[in-house]
């Protein structure tokens, strides 16, 4: 009797996980197909040619680039240098020192010969107090704002208030941009007659690349398995997920590491939210909401080609912290805007994006984790459990490894940032192993994130940076 109940529960439970996975796999397959169609069209387009026209001063819209910096002395000077070398006609760089406790401020002042200036700031969004504003004597389009510590979002808001231009871009202090990145990311805004109010590019991993003086010299592959797995993960998220979602204005994340926003829309939405750890996603959700509530025909898009190279954690300890934080950020955004979920008033965002993020992105890890536990325990129990376990295992291979392998191939088929044949082979082989170790690890960390939400843990946790530049 007891055994029968046990078997019954096992079958229902196994069946549930199986159905969940089949659904998610079908969803991903559709998205993969959409991405394929989109990329196919632009296949072999001579990218430089296509952007030449936009370089003309008359056409381009000026951008304010905001670089929030909190204890980033290792990479700050270099990433500002990389920004000074970008290929874009009119822009200003606003470094916001968010009360750093290291030498970031003085290093900037010394290196770029900055002097304090008086300046009126149009306060569009409330922020913490500003201690001083500096401008470089040699590079008049470079500003530095020193303020009281208030978190990344607050720093971005200060930059937003200070900025002179109609478009703003937030950029992490430790990332390196390709020279044409801004032209490419601004193109949809320029040609759409301002119907596009936010545009994001891809983020790739800089660990293992040759970078000198803030410029990317050669794309390479790191030796750390953990970094290689993150490369694959980023490829998958950006190439497969976002292209498909962007096409239908379903995008909920414009990468915090590299995205351009229309300033007036951000200001109208109330700026960056300071009480969340996922301010970039939260802002995009709020913009979508504003668009729908105003009944405006505006769009938020993703452009796969412009790439921002950024450093990722190489140690398990820091990666774990990052993933737990991301998961909390995801929850905060979804929870703050829970009204949108399954709400037909918000169109496809409410009916597709939100349910997807709740079910697959947020609760997914719990279901996956229980799947792993099921598989492991069935090894000991055998019988009927074992067959379900095999099904679940095969499905999770499909779910984890095969989609990742497909993403690696998609990258080589379309964008091809990695120059050597060996890079592709290596990435492909690593992606085969995803289901066996990397996926379970990240799933576990994300579940830890959920646990942190339950017990009410806040804050970022310290991150260690070594700087990407030589």
């Amino acid at each position: 009797m007891l055994q029968q109940i046990g078997e019954y529960i096992a079958i229902v439970f196994g069946g549930f996980i199986t159905i969940y996975m089949v659904l998610v796999i079908s969803f991903y397959s559709v998205i993969l197909l959409l991405s394929l169609l989109q990329l196919r069209r632009e296949y072999k387009l001579d990218k430089e040619q296509a952007y030449d026209e936009y370089l003309n001063d008359l056409y381009t819209k000026p951008i304010s680039i905001i670089v929030p910096a909190f204890n980033e002395e290792a990479g700050l000077i270099q990433s500002v240098r990389s920004l000074l070398g970008i290929n874009y006609p009119t822009y200003e760089i606003i470094v916001v020192n968010d009360g750093s406790t290291d030498d970031s401020l003085n290093k900037m002042i010394r290196h770029y010969e900055m002097t304090e200036i008086k300046k009126v700031i149009r306060k569009q969004v409330e922020t913490k107090n500003i201690k001083g504003i500096y401008q470089s004597r040699t590079l008049p389009n470079l500003y530095l704002i020193d303020k009281e510590n208030g978190g990344k979002a607050d720093a971005l808001n200060v930059g937003l208030n200070f900025s002179h231009y109609p478009y703003i871009c937030s950029l992490d202090g430790d990332s390196v941009l390709e020279r044409d990145a801004f032209l490419k990311v601004m193109k949809p805004i320029m040609i759409s007659n301002e119907d596009v109010i936010a545009s994001g590019g891809s983020v790739r991993i800089a660990n293992g690349c040759k970078i000198s003086n803030g410029h990317l010299l050669e794309v390479g592959l790191s030796k750390h398995p953990l970094v290689i797995m993150q490369i694959i993960e980023y490829l998958r998220a950006f190439l497969m997920g976002r292209i498909g979602l962007s096409r239908h204005n379903l995008l909920l994340i414009v990468s915090g590491a590299f995205g351009v926003f229309s300033k007036s829309w951000v200001a109208e939405a109330g700026g960056y939210k300071t009480t969340t750890v996922g301010e970039d996603m939260e802002l995009v959700v709020r913009l979508h909401r504003l668009i729908k509530e105003k009944g405006a025909k505006k769009k938020i898009v993703y452009v796969p080609d412009p790439v921002c190279w950024t450093e990722v954690p190489e140690e398990t300890k820091f990666l774990r912290r990052q993933r737990r934080r991301w998961h909390r950020g995801l929850f905060e955004s979804l929870w703050a805007h829970r009204k949108l979920a399954f709400n037909p008033k918000y169109g496809s965002i409410g009916m597709i994006s939100f349910p997807y993020f709740w079910i697959v992105e947020f609760f997914g890890p719990i279901i996956e984790l229980s799947g792993y536990i099921y598989v492991l325990s069935s090894l000991f129990l055998g019988g009927i459990y074992l067959e379900f376990a095999i099904i679940i295992f095969l499905l999770s291979c499909l779910y984890g490894s095969l989609f990742s392998m497909a993403s690696v191939l998609l990258e080589e088929w379309s964008l091809r940032k990695y120059p050597k044949v060996s890079h592709i082979v290596k990435l492909f082989l690593y992606s085969m192993t995803e289901t066996l170790w990397y996926r379970p690890l990240t799933v576990f960390w994300r579940c830890e994130g959920i646990w942190q939400i339950i017990v009410g843990e806040k804050g970022w946790g310290e991150m260690k940076r070594k700087g990407v530049s030589e």
């Binding site: 296949y43 072999k44 296509a50 401008q135 067959e387 095999i390 099904i391 095969l394 191939l409």
Partner: protein, 348 residues
Amino acid sequence: MMISNEVIVLFYATIFILIFLLLILLYLIIRKTLENQETLKVNLIKKEIETSLFVSISEGKVYERSNRDRFSLKAMEELLKSYSDTVVGTLEIQSITAMADKYLSEGYRKVLKGRSWSKRINALYHIEDFHMHKLSDDVRQLLQSRSITKEEVIVSVRFLAATGMFEEVFEFVNERYTDLTDFDYRSILFKLDEHSFGLFVERFSECHPTLQWSILEIISIRKELSYLSFVERIFQMYKGEETGIRALKAIASIGFTTDIEQFYSLRGSSEWQERMLFAKLIRFFPSESSYDILATLIHDRNWWVRSQAAQSFTKLPKGKEQLIKIMENSHDPYARDIATEWLQKGEI
């Protein structure tokens, strides 16, 4: 048992997908290897012919190369492209066009008729860059095709604009393709020579609004005094409308007007853009009333107007003194702030 069957099906499906992916991988590896070799070859040829090609261009001659395999043509195309971005002399440009006509036009002709969108676009960009007027008819033919995309239309019409085909271009932008953006029209109009652009100005009233705005935008950018009376007339005709504001913008950019007093009423306009543009225009007219008007506008409730008024002060001979006065005496903290900022701007 039923489940066993499912396991088997799933197992085979996984294996099948795996093999499929491995095959694609194999294909991509071969492709990458071949392409890396091709790039290597093209680069070698580029190194080999670079100097003599450059000499030919600078002397206005046509470089001769008997070998016309794929690699040579690719190398030639890349080199010509890099030169066409930098050279400005008529002789050099003619030489580039002649060489492109001689070596590349056949290939482009085929591609334009081909099915690949990205290849067609690339060819169009090159045809435009190399000024290959010889291919105008092929471009026209492409424009007639039903399945043409917007991107192709824009590059094609821009190319025709550069060849000075006024009637044709006018028909395209004013009748056939009326749904392009400001930005696209501007990029097309910008390619017109002075004569053809003048014809557009003449037929301004026949144009649809977006095209009208683009024409005014181009005048703002070119700042040509010869169009002043035209934009003044347009401003009067379309007062209070978007077109009127754009005409005012053009006048403010040209920086001159026959009669500044006709604009005086704008200081009380309900549109902030008009107040700002007026503040911008008045900086070219150093008279007592200009100082008074700017002193009013620097107290405007709109930040842009205040900022422009302060900036205009700095351009007037006695403007600095006025700004100092405002900074010290004004009751309005916003006006004081903006005056302080602009006074300081000259220092860095």
